[in-house]
């Protein structure tokens, strides 16, 4: 719904379709007949936010409850933001067009650290006080979840409560509690206190932090009866857990404009840099029957002609061939194509290739992550060069002529030799192409080598590691450029400045809140976008606040230091992470969950891959 005032602005901005709602399958309710209004905010543009699966799941699930009306809010792009400010129009939700400030819950999903400023900016544009302590009543409850909630400390002063882990169950428990508390006339503090007793809820204002002289954390003290450790929530049975049979179908083109079907959560691999590989443990699969039925319903209800099977590593789905067979039974007749992103180098077989090629041919992307075998052993990637080359051979013989390879630079223990190996591997792929007898004749090969900068993340074996300095990263980037001697390899790299800021926030503590507050005051937004990001301005802010960002990004932390996120539990023991870190230094790999249980701790949930074998034995 668009108000008369907004209508007048829309023709002055780019892509006005971002700001109007009105899509197929959007949920409209009568605001007077619901008890709780939830503004689901994605702190980025419409096109990015609408591509996010988590939001689609929770949007449907919340709206399935008669007493909740969940609406969507996205960050207006800079042109629209300017118009809104000049014309005194507060941020509004797309479905009703009502101001965000009128909502009971203002929920954010935090997918990447560089969206923090957008979150604060969206509160500011809504006219809602950004700090939790300045919002006194039982309304405008600011909640947040998503992977970045695993270290909530840099934004602890702004968010009333964090959802730790998977949201499908805990979110509804909190919303239901809110409804009861409001009926009983409880205060916001009373409500938060009751929330903090729910597993998977972290109320940051109920914890006091003290620091040592060297600025590291001395202690974390809970008050108001809050638990000393907050445990994550997790969906035990993926087959019975809620999944939407319907997506809001955008009117304008978005980043991932297709149906998305989740096939499992978690990852068996345990690559040591990968946060998702640890915080979503253990692996829990959906059955092929469930996936097939859900895919079919989604395509029928949305009209999409493409479904993407989503997971952290699709080829690790234990019944992938059976699943593709089932999907192929109807997808060809319905002119629906199945795409399989996140394929592992060692998982791309002829069989899979044939099945995903039937309707449409998309690009191929693999992530060896590191160039040398030693480096891949350090990060526990468990991929051999010959496996990658064999996979490329399969693809080239199958008609593909372009391959994208993802790498990281700045990994722990990396040398210039390891960096050079990235180019050598790219060259080996090029050479493989010309050895393939069945390659597409008359076409040249294109290998895209893409290098991002390593950012150490909480809850990974590398959480104690220093990040390379920006200078070191630049040196490595230019070295790669110099080493490439063929035009068949195209080199892309990620801006080191943004990776640095990401590293600061990823492992920051509560002292960063004042930097964030000042950033919001100064109008910082869209840090993930080159149009807006300026490291220089950020460094000025850190300087003004007397904070050294290198303390968070480039310092090696000791195993016995209290980390800002130590009071949060994602199921993987710290001792396991320490052990994995030590194994990395010894270039030793760790077998994945299906080969051997390594006792990471996630078996305590009593579900998933940890019990696959045991189930089969019964």
């Amino acid at each position: 719904m668009v108000s008369k005032e907004v209508e007048k602005l829309l023709l002055k901005v780019q892509k006005p379709g971002r700001y109007v709602g009105g899509e197929l399958n959007e949920v409209i309710k009568d605001k007077n007949s619901v008890d709780v209004r939830f503004a689901f905010c994605f702190p980025d543009t419409y096109e990015v936010g609408m591509s996010h699966l988590g939001m689609k799941i929770l949007y449907s699930q919340f709206n399935n409850e008669d007493y909740i009306w969940c609406e969507r809010v996205f960050a207006p792009w800079i042109d629209m933001e300017k118009e809104m400010i000049e014309n005194n129009i507060p941020l509004y939700a797309l479905e009703s067009g009502d101001p965000v400030s009128e909502f009971d819950f203002i929920g954010f999903t935090l997918q990447y650290e560089l969206s923090y400023t957008n979150m604060l900016n969206m509160l500011k544009l809504s006219g809602v006080p950004i700090k939790s302590c300045d919002r006194h009543d039982l309304k405008q409850i600011v909640v947040a979840g998503g992977p970045c909630a695993c270290n909530p400390e840099p934004i602890a002063e702004f968010v009333d409560l964090f959802f730790i882990g998977e949201g499908e169950e805990v979110d509804l428990e909190v919303i239901d509690l809110f409804r009861k508390c409001r009926k009983e006339g409880k205060s916001k503090t009373e409500f938060l206190q009751l929330c903090s007793q729910i597993e998977g809820v972290y109320v940051p204002s109920f914890y006091e932090v003290s620091y040592n002289e060297d600025d590291t954390i001395k202690s974390f003290t809970p008050k108001n009866n809050a638990p000393s450790v907050v445990h994550k929530r997790l969906i035990k049975d993926m087959n019975s857990s809620f999944y939407p049979d319907n997506f809001v179908v955008p009117l304008i083109e978005i980043v991932h404009d297709r149906a998305v079907q989740e096939i499992f959560r978690g990852c068996i691999r345990g690559c040591r840099f990968c946060q998702a590989g640890f915080i979503y443990r253990p692996v829990r699969e959906k059955s092929p029957e469930t996936i097939n039925a859900q895919c079919k319903a989604l395509c029928e209800n949305t009209g999409y002609d493409e479904v993407s099977l989503s997971s952290l590593s699709s080829s690790d789905y234990s019944q992938i061939v059976l699943l593709l067979e089932k999907l192929n039974e109807w997808s060809k007749d319905e002119k629906v194509s199945i795409s399989l992103p996140s394929l592992r180098v060692d998982g791309f077989t002829d069989e899979i290739m044939d099945k995903i090629k039937t309707v449409r041919k998309s690009g191929l992307t693999f992530a060896p992550e590191a160039g040398s075998q030693r480096m891949r052993d350090v990060i526990n990637k468990n991929v051999l060069e010959k496996e990658l080359l064999a996979t490329c051979e399969t693809a080239f013989n199958g008609g593909w002529t372009t391959v994208k390879l993802y790498f990281m630079i700045g990994l722990p223990t990396e040398t210039m030799e390891d960096v050079e190996a990235i180019v050598k591997l790219g060259q080996a792929v090029v050479d493989t192409y010309y050895k393939c007898p069945n390659r597409t004749k008359g076409r040249s090969v294109k290998v895209t080598v893409s290098a991002s900068s390593f950012v150490p993340k909480p809850f990974t074996p590398f959480q104690w590691e220093p990040q390379d300095t920006i200078e070191q990263l630049h040196e490595k980037q230019s070295h790669i450029k110099e080493c490439i001697t063929t035009k068949k390899i195209q080199f892309n790299y990620h801006d080191a400045d943004t990776s640095f800021l990401e590293a600061v926030f990823a492992r920051g503590d509560r002292k960063l809140c004042k930097v964030m507050e000042l950033a919001c005051e100064r109008g910082f937004h869209f840090d993930g976008w080159n149009d807006c990001f300026s490291l220089e301005k950020w460094l000025e802010l850190f300087d003004e606040c007397g904070i050294d960002p290198a303390f968070y990004a480039n310092r090696r932390r000791s195993f016995d230091e209290i980390l800002p996120w130590d009071h949060i539990d994602y199921g993987v023991n710290k001792s396991y992470l320490i052990n994995e870190c030590k194994r990395a230094y010894e270039n030793t790999t760790t077998p994945h969950c299906r080969l051997k249980c390594n006792n990471c701790g996630a078996a305590k949930y009593g579900e998933g891959v940890c019990f696959e074998k045991r189930k089969n034995m019964v």
């Binding site: 829309l10 700001y19 709602g21 083109e253 009209g303 449409r360």
Partner: protein, 219 residues
């Protein structure tokens, strides 16, 4: 194979989407409806649909059309209307299906209704200024294109016009040259009028109908 011209309106939120987005939206609706529409036979088969005259972003359209080919005869036009509407957002709704009687290339004129309002002056002043402006011998406007700036005389493209003064806005009903050559976008008139007034004007533009060169309704 049977040609069908599908008539729809583009309004509400959907007026803010571009022609490309409209095209995508329609293809998805055709796919979802499972109507026996002929598909292209290339690498990426998709329903084949063409639009006789695209509508600019921001305009409402009450008589818009899209041409498709039907592979089966056993569908009534009523059935097509209801099946498609179930697959479309509320801003795009089909109201008629016909067998095309004119080719898209025959379109020569389009009728628009333009509601004009301005914060700074009242509607009677707008109406007065507008009739002054439209009676100028030449309405020159600098049109920016990829090839650079060129000056066009919009007056050449205005076939007829009529001004209606309302309480807080003025409606300009105007017939303009349209089609693949000599197309005049009503936005040009609005911009030229803004220049003339030296004031910003808010324009709510609706395309009413399309005509051939003899001013017969395009069907």
């Amino acid at each position: 194979m049977k040609n069908a011209r599908i008539w729809f309106k583009k309004d509400l939120e959907c007026r803010y989407i571009s022609h490309l987005d409209l095209n995508r939206c329609m293809l998805r609706a055709l796919h979802k409806s499972k109507l026996p529409v002929w598909h292209t036979e290339g690498f990426n088969p998709h329903p084949f649909a063409t639009f006789p005259l695209p509508l600019s972003l921001g305009f409402r359209g009450i008589n818009e059309c899209m041409d498709v080919k039907l592979e089966a005869d056993n569908y009534s036009f009523e059935e097509i209307i209801s099946k498609l509407n179930a697959c479309l957002p509320k801003g795009i709704q089909v109201f008629d299906v016909t067998e095309p009687s004119m080719k898209a290339g025959k379109i020569a004129f389009a009728k628009f209704s333009i509601k004009l309002s301005c914060d700074k002056i009242n509607s009677s002043t707008i109406a007065e200024k507008l009739s002054e402006f439209l009676s100028l011998e030449k309405i020159e406007f600098e049109k920016k294109s990829k090839k650079g700036i060129k000056t066009v005389d919009i007056n050449q493209g205005i076939k007829t016009f009529q001004i209606e003064e309302k309480f807080d806005f003025v409606t300009l009903n105007v017939v303009l040259s349209a089609g693949s050559s000599d197309n005049v976008n009503p936005n040009l008139i609005v911009s030229a009028f803004e220049n003339y007034l030296q004031l910003p004007v808010y324009a709510d533009i609706t395309r009413i109908d399309l005509y051939n060169s003899d001013m017969e309704l395009f069907r």
